[in-house]
Amino acid sequence: MIFGKKNKDEVKEVFNFNYTDLSAIEEYLTLKEKEGLRLKEIDGEKMIFKKAEPRENIRYCAEIYVGSSGDDFLYSCQQEGWTHCGTYRGELYIFRTLQRDATDIMTDEELKMKTIRKRALLRPGNISCFILIFLRIFRFIMDVDMGLNESDIEYWLWWIVIGIFAFSPIFILTDYFFWLMRAKGALRQGEKVKYLSLKGVKARRLTEAIAFLVFCFASLAFVCIADVGQCEDYGVTYWLIIAFIGLAIFSLLSQFKTKTVYGKAVKILTLILVIEGVLFGTYMSVKVSRQHFESTAKIYNTINIPFSLSDLGYDEKDCTDKCMAHNITRFAQHYFYSSDYEAEGAENAPPEEYDENNEYMSYEVFVSDYPHIREKYINEKLKTYEKYGYEIKALDSSETLWDICYRETDEEGEDRWAGFAVKGNTIFFTDIMVDTKGENLFETAYEKLFEKE
């Protein structure tokens, strides 16, 4: 990739090789030499070329040296006819020579392979990716412990994020292990160890770019198809994946057009990617635990309901009239009490103890954009009724229909009903105690108040 020119006589490129690509590096520099660009130095992750008259008989050599005698090593190389061009990360040295009979810098195949074997695995880029992946997986495991499971979209989103960050290191590692197997085989046979050629490196980059693009598109398709609702973090995910797709496309195209300048666009994309990644990671990290719904849902109980039936799409007068007809004083903002219950302030307070002669109704309204959270709310509510042996019925949470899911028990001859009605992202929960006469107030009231659309 070409980053842009510092001055018209210099060209900068990203050092985009692995430590097992020594032959490819030498080939590449030789090609550059023929194009009239000679390696001047390596600055961080950039190779800086200067324009120069091409020389045919120049030979480049890339070697790894990690010892403590760097200066002596360079001096000895110079004595053997090698000119030091640059050093990448203090351990990959690049030399050139015009002498045809200059001694190779590394003459012991086994020693060379062992040095590269260790350093190729411990490259700082790999280590930071491994740490990032480890932290993500650790966070993911914590979320699973707190209730995140396969029915949650976030479960799969975490795998996508881990996959995106793990993609490049996995490719590098796979490439590395294949090379190691071939190298050991060659040494056993007494042959020279082969390092990936420039053609092999280009094929690898192309494969990686295509595979990454396919992975990003698959992730985007998954997020689009899954039941994501209208939540902000899904929006962030869309942008993150789209940014990665953009980067993958540029990476793929740059394999074909080395002279076209993609550098600035890739820089901007990379910056957007990093910022989005940080924001996304921070957002996901501070997200509320699955055990508490405060930030992802609102629970309205009988005391603090801020809206009326009309907010839910019902005619309040009509509902109130129907409640009155069944000895229910008010609805949607307070507990219902039978006309027999005359405690002071009873209209605004729940009964302190159950009186079997009274009929009353309590309810909650629960709102969440997450389908899996709505299901969890229902399951948590139902757990409190487990001792009564409730049976679960199917719950339809479609956007246009109210449906009822209720349980019943015959403990001590008493019927107790708990009901859920779900419309869109709203769950309506009622808990009715009926008197021993068996009158099913809930069923009656419900049929009258909530007619199916």
Partner: protein
Amino acid sequence: MPRKSMQTLSEPMYYVLLALTKELYGTEIMSEVRHLSHDRIKIGPGTLYTMLDKFLTAGLIKRTNKSLATKSYIITLEGKRALKEEYARLSTLILDGEKIMEVLI
């Protein structure tokens, strides 16, 4: 059967230790090895200094201050012991094969 590190020496390692029976700089070691092996063994600077680092870690050689400009090295007692062991091992190989080689030749 896998060998321990430095248990047996490779050919270049053997010649480097031989060369370091006298105090030498890096470039001198490369020349001395070529001389001792009659130009058969050529050690590159990368291989040499990697080897020297391993020898230093194993205690077979030590750094000396022959000059301030560059480092020099010389074999230690431990290095001499390892060299003698390797020489004895190679001699054993020759002796063991002598009788059979006489027949073959």
